[in-house]
């Protein structure tokens, strides 16, 4: 059912008729229910089991989480309870007595490499640190946006993970296929590794293949191959309608689709075909970067409009029709697009889904300060984890958080192994550059754990911020490799 805060019975009836809604639309005339059950944001979705238990309660719609909540609800009804895990192995404290600990890090992305380096810097050689990744290379993902407009080549934005071994970190180039929390071990295709501490930093898996026609019609903004495809398509583009589409929530780097639109706009202008082109952004969000204060979203909308980029918020994507080159929203509204750049749906990697670590959100719930899961010595950081903010929304998925969380987790583990009191806590700090094209960028940063909503400082856009982002990229690729 819909509940309309500050609506009347009459206005709800009208609403139901106008949108032809087949479910109840109930007024909450004085907003009392709204105040009591939500954080003041719409939409707010609450899923209640028949026994009255709330299994889902979120603001911005989180598809993965909602799917997981529905499964939990159905499991409740069929009586199939998720099995509890209990460690039968030695606990980390007991392992410590052997004076040699093994820390296994799953994923050599942002969180994984920062955690590995920080641990190596603070632990002696008797302690082993493993990084497992199925990819031979670390890819600096935010530079995909520059690759897409020809400002970077592939070799400039990736580095071989094998180089970690030079720093005393053991790199396993293999796919993780099982996380066995009970026996405290991890299996890859070729090996089994047991751990005293486990850091899950496997990121978010993007699944364009879950959308029929994606391969025929869209370029994936979030993959190397997709960015290459966008570059070729932009080179061949002589005019028409470009669409940047967010297919579902949540997605990593909330600024990326907007940055893509700005960069494409600037590229087409430089190419001399801007006056023959339209650029549109379609997204299910109600405003850009919805976790940030509304003023930041409003300033991005303003900048889009100043560059003639058309913004379509609350576009709940449903399907693609490659034969007519249309994208279709849940309300049936269809838009024809000549060049489609899309953010694919995200989900937790398969191996995490079968590990028992996932919560109802569809991601791994962790303590906001320590990043610990409910299993002893097991941490989750970065995109694969989820932290609920005071506003009821989730901490955005971004490299800056994976980075800062990795530093905190490495300190806790090192302190614990060395028998020191650990006091490292993640405080919700983060920042973000927003590429605006023409060698300019904006910047915002602050504290995302601030109650009731993140407190961010937004800087005036300019060239200096763009160069700041370039300098960070150079530092990153040199610092860790």
């Amino acid at each position: 059912m819909y509940v309309g805060p500050f609506e009347t019975t009459e206005s709800c009836d009208e609403w139901k008729r106008e949108y032809d809604l087949a479910f109840p639309v109930v007024p909450d005339a004085d907003g009392a229910l709204f105040r009591r059950l939500t954080s003041g944001w719409v939409p707010w979705s609450i899923l209640v089991a028949p026994d009255g238990e709330v299994v889902f309660s979120e603001n911005e719609f989180d598809e993965a989480g909602f799917g997981a909540a529905i499964s939990q609800l159905l499991a409740k009804q069929t009586g199939v309870a998720p099995t509890a895990t209990e460690s039968t192995q030695r606990t980390p404290a007991a392992r410590r007595a052997s004076k040699a600990a093994t820390v296994v890090i799953l994923g050599g992305g942002v969180g994984g490499i920062v955690a590995a380096h920080n641990l190596r810097a603070s632990l002696g050689e008797e302690h082993r640190i493993f990084v497992i990744d199925r990819s031979p290379d670390h890819l600096f993902q935010s530079s995909l946006l520059w690759l897409m407009v020809g400002d970077r080549r592939e070799h400039q934005i990736r580095r071989p993970l094998e180089r970690l071994t030079r720093r005393g970190i053991e790199f396993v180039h293999d796919e993780v296929v099982e996380i066995d929390l009970e026996r405290r071990l991890v299996r890859t295709r070729a090996r089994t590794l047991d751990f005293d501490y486990l850091i899950v930093a496997l990121g978010a898996r993007t699944v364009p293949e879950s959308i029929e026609g994606f391969g025929e019609m869209a370029h994936d903004l979030y993959s190397l191959e997709g960015s290459r495809g966008i570059k070729n398509a932009l080179d061949a583009f002589t005019g028409g309608k470009v669409g940047v589409l967010v297919t579902s929530m949540p997605f990593k780097c909330p600024a990326a689709p907007y940055e893509a639109a700005f960069l494409v706009e600037s590229f087409l202008r430089a190419k001399g075909v801007r006056d023959r082109s339209e650029i549109h952004v379609y997204t299910p969000e109600h405003q850009p970067m919805p976790v940030a204060p509304a003023a930041l979203g409003a300033s991005i909308v303003e900048m889009l409009s100043a560059r003639g980029i058309q913004y379509h918020p609350l576009f709940t994507f449903q399907k693609m029709r490659p034969e007519t080159r249309e994208i279709v929203a849940a309300d049936g509204h269809a838009e024809k697009v000549d060049l489609l750049i899309a953010v694919p749906p995200h989900q937790a990697p398969e191996v995490v889904r079968s590990s028992g670590l996932l919560g109802v959100s569809g991601w791994i719930p962790v303590d906001p300060g320590t990043l610990r899961t409910e299993h002893e010595g097991v941490f989750a950081i970065g995109d694969v984890s989820t932290v609920r903010l005071p506003s009821g929304k989730s901490l955005p998925k971004a490299g800056v958080f994976a980075h800062n969380q990795a530093v905190v987790v490495a300190r806790q583990i090192a302190d614990e192994i060395r028998g020191r009191r650990d006091g490292a806590r993640f405080d919700g700090g983060g920042y973000c550059w927003i590429e605006l094209g023409d060698g300019r960028a904006g910047f915002a940063g602050g504290n995302f754990y601030h109650d009731p909503e993140p407190r961010l400082r937004v800087a005036r856009p300019g060239r200096a911020w763009h160069w700041g982002k370039v300098a960070f990229e150079k530092w990153w690729l040199r610092r860790w490799f």
Partner: protein
């Protein structure tokens, strides 16, 4: 979209809600989805 500033944190997953006593219809045997929403 933020509609009210003075609200709390939202009902937490895991807590109990008696929809009928809140005056809300109980939709079905499998569970009920309540969406607070503003007409666009």
């Amino acid at each position: 979209m933020k509609v009210l500033d003075e609200s709390g944190k939202g009902v937490a997953a895991g807590s109990k809600l008696d929809l009928a006593s809140l005056g809300l219809p109980v939709a079905g045997r499998r569970g009920t989805l309540v969406v607070f929403w503003k007409r666009q």
